[in-house]
Every structure is written in C-alpha cells, then in structure tokens.
C-alpha cells in the first residue's frame, strides 16, 4: 500500500489566437501547407489543457500533490498564454510555428520546470485540446523508441 505510482489529472482552459507562417517559405507555399491558418491577423481557439502528475501517495495527506498547489503552479504558465496572440505576445514562437504540437511541447517544458523540486512528484503527460475533435499528448518518455 502506498508504494504505487498514481496519476492525477487536472483540467485548465485558456483562449488564444495564433497564425501559421514560415518566414523561410513563399506566400504560395505557406498558403498551400497552412491554408486558412495563414491569415495575417490570426484566429483563435478555446484550448483545454489536461495536466497529469505522477507520484506516490503521501501517507500523511493521502495526496500525490495538493491540487490547489498544482492549480497555482499551472496557472502561472497558463496565464501567460490566456487571451494572447501567441505569435506576438509570447516569446516562445519566434522560431516555432504555434501548432498544437508545438504549444503542447512548450507548455510541457514550462510546467515541468515550474513544478520541479516542489515535491516527490513529476509531470507525466499533458493533453492539449485545440478543438473537441483535435488534440495532442506530450508524454514523458525516457526511452524514445
């Protein structure tokens, strides 16, 4: 009892706009690959973020991580994305297209750093929904096959 790794997931939401554009390509190539996502003013989504933490259950509290602490840590990151134009209002997409894959990987790294050394738990996975039918997982892997 109490020695198993358990996963806990909390959901967050944010709304942001973005634009897909590769500066190294012509207008035609950008439009061919990215279609309507190339609009210069951007477009937006209501994103849903699922943050999954793994760890052992603390025998004193019955918890892996105090959910209000997790909420505080993750909201630090989420607020820097919420109601922003990701390409211009965040520093992360200067040389990366803000696709769901890239946003998820950036957020994974930021959340992982944010909770590092805060306790005996670690970030296992994040799932980022761009729409109800389109989402990305970033999963911690030590052995990438």
């Amino acid at each position: 009892m109490g020695n198993q790794q358990v996963l806990i997931t909390k959901k967050f939401e944010f709304s942001a706009s973005h634009r897909y554009w590769n500066e190294d390509w012509s207008k035609e190539k950008n439009e061919e690959i990215f279609g309507k996502c190339t609009s210069p003013y951007g477009h937006g989504h209501n994103y849903e973020l699922h943050v999954t933490i793994s760890g052992r259950v603390d025998q004193n509290t019955g918890m892996i991580i105090n959910l209000s602490d997790l909420k505080k840590h993750v909201n630090e990151i989420v607020k820097s994305f919420d109601h922003k134009f990701l390409n211009l209002d965040t520093p992360y997409f200067q040389n990366k297209i803000p696709t769901t894959e890239n946003i998820a990987n950036v957020m994974f790294e930021l959340i992982e750093n944010q909770i590092k050394d805060k306790g005996d738990f670690s970030l296992h996975k994040i799932r980022l929904y761009e729409k109800k039918d389109l989402y990305v997982d970033v999963i911690k892997e030590t052995n990438h096959e």
Binding site: I97, T99, T100, E101, L134, V136, E141
Partner: protein, 142 residues
C-alpha cells in the same frame, strides 16, 4: 531560422472521425439459440446500427518547418479513404472482411488498425479508440 532542437518526449496528435454502419453479431458455428444466448439483442436478424467515433493517434517527430507531426490533410485523406468503405454500409453484408469475421467492436478496431498501419508508414500509428456507443469503447495502442 526555425529551431532544429530534438524533442525527447513523445508527441501524439489525435483527431476524431465518425462513421455510421449497420451490423449483426452472429456466428455460423453456433445454433440460433446459442447465438441469441451470447449476442442477445445484437443478434437481431435484420441487424441494427451505430454512429461510431474513431480517435486516431499519430506519433512522430515534429517537422521543424511545419511544426506538425503530420499534415492534417494527409491524415484526413488516409483515414477517410478507409472509413468510406464502412460508412453507411451493412458491415456483414457489404464489407468483405466482415463476411467471415464477426463485426464486434473488438474485431472492427483490429481491422481498422491493420489497414491504417499500412497507410501510415514508419509506425506513425500509435493509438486507436473506437466508440461504438456513448457507453462502450475499444482501444488499441502500439
């Protein structure tokens, strides 16, 4: 210049697709009583149908030029080409594979996996979830 820094964590892109089919669960090897005992209402002689939802998970490195693991258009084309064979069909009667294989969710998801695994090269196919109704689903993972 776009960053070429490799990403060690696994990235999986999921998209949800839909198809609607009729089927009937019935085995040639069993008597009608045995079939009814096992498959119950799913053994209804004239068949019945579902709106199926299929979640397809594709993994791979993120292309630094596009920021994508796979272009969504390529994914749509490959998955829809397969689902077209099932959509608005009676699986047992109109889809050759299910003339000899019972069209349970378990068998449908394995059929979809084997077909999609041929379309998506380099083991890009990572995960499938097939919803038969709102209350039951089947999963396969590489």
């Amino acid at each position: 210049m776009l960053s070429k820094k490799p990403i060690m964590n696994r990235t999986v892109l999921y998209k949800i697709f839909e198809f609607s089919s009729a089927h009937r669960l019935s085995s040639d090897k069993l008597t009608s009583e045995e079939n009814w005992d096992i498959y119950d209402k799913c053994n209804n002689i004239n068949g019945h149908g579902h709106d199926y939802y299929l979640e397809v998970g594709i993994t791979g490195d993120i292309d630094p030029e596009t920021g994508m693991t796979i272009e969504l258009e390529e994914m749509d084309i490959k998955v829809n080409a397969l689902l077209q064979q099932l959509n608005y069909k009676h699986l047992n009667k109109e889809v050759p594979y299910f003339k000899t294989t019972i069209s349970t969710g378990e068998n449908i998801i394995q059929f979809l996996w084997n077909e999609l695994d041929k379309s998506f090269t380099n083991q890009q196919l990572y995960y499938l979830k097939l919803w038969e109704t709102n209350n039951n689903y089947f999963e396969l993972k590489r």
